[in-house]
């Protein structure tokens, strides 16, 4: 059966509606959301309301967590003080706008959803803040999936959709310890695993302005990355009307961003 996975909605109602409409037209009713329902965008309540109305199973993203817990990440999440200031502005604005019911809903979201050997998370099984980029060390990437006890790991957070298969792996080791005077050598064969990043509905960063999501066939294991055009102007105007930083509208209309990606994407904030 096919199911759709969406992520990083970021309070962009026009994009969310367009993606859900695309999924509906394909006759897919099973949808999983990987979090970041809010943040940056101008319609946090509308997007949370829609996810609740549609009863879409959702993980909690880093923005959802921060809105509930208070700003929890250190300045390491931002590459510059300017970027941090804009992020804090969006955080404060979103926290003010969200209704108590919607805050309670975000607080109730789990950090992961498991279906047999498939795991759904926002960032990584380690943290909602960790980026699993497509060029991350392959062994470290495999470790994330393997440690989580999954065959396939669905994640978001990077806003760049991809499907990464890790296969034909082995590691040879030589061990010397106090109980053996001759070194012991062995080879470990590694399992095949898959990481699927669903990209972003509400704030694409893959080089196009279109919203992205993925469709997974749990029988064949195939994954399709989907792009959906939406009325970007509508969201950009709402950003400006709301008084949010204009650069949020600029980057939506250009389809990528150069300003808000952490220099060390593998860094996991411990605060």
């Amino acid at each position: 059966m096919k199911h759709a996975v969406i992520s990083c909605l970021h309070a962009n109602l026009a994009a969310v509606k367009a993606v859900l409409n695309d999924i509906d037209q394909k006759g897919i009713s099973d949808i999983t959301c990987l979090g970041d329902l809010v943040g940056y965008g101008p319609q946090p309540n509308e997007v949370v309301d829609l996810v609740r109305e549609r009863d879409i199973a959702s993980c909690q993203g880093c923005w959802d967590e921060d809105i509930i817990e208070g700003l929890n990440a250190c300045e390491c999440s931002y590459p510059s003080q300017l970027a941090e200031k804009r992020g804090h502005l969006a955080h404060e604005w979103t926290a003010e706008q969200l209704t108590d019911i919607n805050k309670d809903f975000l607080a109730s979201l789990p950090t992961s959803i498991r279906r047999d050997r498939i795991l759904f998370v926002h960032g990584s099984p380690n943290s909602q803040h960790e980026y699993l980029l497509p060029d991350m060390n392959a062994f470290a990437a495999l470790e994330r999936v393997e440690k989580a006890g999954a065959d396939t790991l669905f994640c978001g957070h990077t806003h760049q959709p991809y499907v990464r298969e890790l296969k034909n792996g082995s590691i040879r080791v030589r061990l010397q310890n106090t109980s053996n005077h001759n070194a012991e050598e062995k080879e470990i064969n590694l399992p095949m695993r898959k990481i699927v990043n669903a990209g972003s509905v509400g704030e694409p960063r893959h080089g196009s302005t279109n919203a992205t999501y993925v469709i997974h066939d749990d029988v064949t294991g195939e994954v399709e990355i989907k792009e959906v055009a939406y009325d970007i102007g509508l969201t950009c105007q709402a950003i400006i009307d709301a008084g949010l930083p204009r650069i949020f509208a600029w980057r939506l209309s250009h389809g990528f961003e150069f300003a808000e990606q952490a220099e060390d994407a593998s860094h996991v904030c411990e605060r």
């Binding site: 062994f139 990437a141 495999l142 470790e143 393997e146 760049q160 034909n168 061990l175 990355i225």
Partner: protein
């Protein structure tokens, strides 16, 4: 002269053992640095004499370079000097009595010095940490999945990781292997094979068991106080 490092951990207040190690090191040739990878304190005995000595080494001794370990973290956490929690891990594992014994084992005078210690050292292409960069209580052993070991090396971007928390002495080298990675995105498909880099994880032991690392030859020597060689491991010279 070829540089050699001595690596010690898990003394837990045992000044006598520390003095025996220092005596051994005087006889060993070429040892230029002494790294103490945490667990200088513990609940079993009063630790003040050892802590005094580490902070005020004798002139004829190697000057110790110390980092904090799991027991220091529990102590500092319980004393409100680190994080927002109490020493929950210790309390959970060993009960309230162990927490009380730890507090009684260290004079508060030493807390300022203990809280000033670093999490780890990077020397040359080596990481020296009590547990690992993932967690101070990370228990890396020869049985730990090589995937996890590679992850810990990758996080620190080092070729050798010296670790102490497991208390075991071992030298595990990653000698080969690889992993195919196929990435599909909206621009198409790409394939890449990641090779296993020649890297090592070295468990340095604890208490009377310590390690000497020969930087030039990449050899590790596992010793016990009294100068007894347990065995030696050869890395990538």
């Amino acid at each position: 002269m070829i540089e050699r490092w001595a690596l010690v951990s898990g003394l837990k207040g045992d000044l006598e053992t520390y003095e025996l190690i220092q005596r051994d090191l005087k006889k060993a040739s070429g040892v230029t640095a002494l790294f103490v990878l945490g667990d200088m304190v513990g609940p079993e005995r009063n630790c003040d004499a050892l802590l005094n000595r580490l902070q005020n080494p004798r002139r004829d001794e190697l000057q110790p370079q110390c980092i904090y370990g799991w027991w220091e973290e529990q102590l500092l956490t319980e004393q409100g000097l680190r994080g927002e929690q109490k020493a929950d891990a210790l309390r959970l594992n060993q009960g309230e009595e162990a927490v009380t014994a730890l507090l009684n084992a260290v004079d508060t005078y030493h807390l300022k010095w203990l809280s000033s210690l670093q999490f780890g050292f990077i020397e040359l292409d080596c990481g020296l940490i009590h547990g690992s960069s993932a967690d101070i209580g990370d228990n890396l052993t020869p049985e730990t999945s090589p995937l996890i070991l590679i992850d810990r090396l990758t996080r620190l971007d080092v070729n050798r990781l010296f670790t102490a928390h497991s208390t075991k002495q071992f030298h595990l080298e990653l000698t080969g292997g690889g992993l195919d990675s196929q990435v599909k995105d909206l621009n198409g498909e790409s394939q890449h094979q990641q090779r296993v880099s020649k890297q090592s994880i070295i468990g340095i032991g604890a208490g009377a068991n310590y390690t000497i690392y020969d930087v030039g030859s990449d050899e590790t020597h596992f010793l016990t106080v009294g100068g007894q060689y347990n065995t030696k491991g050869k890395g990538f010279a």
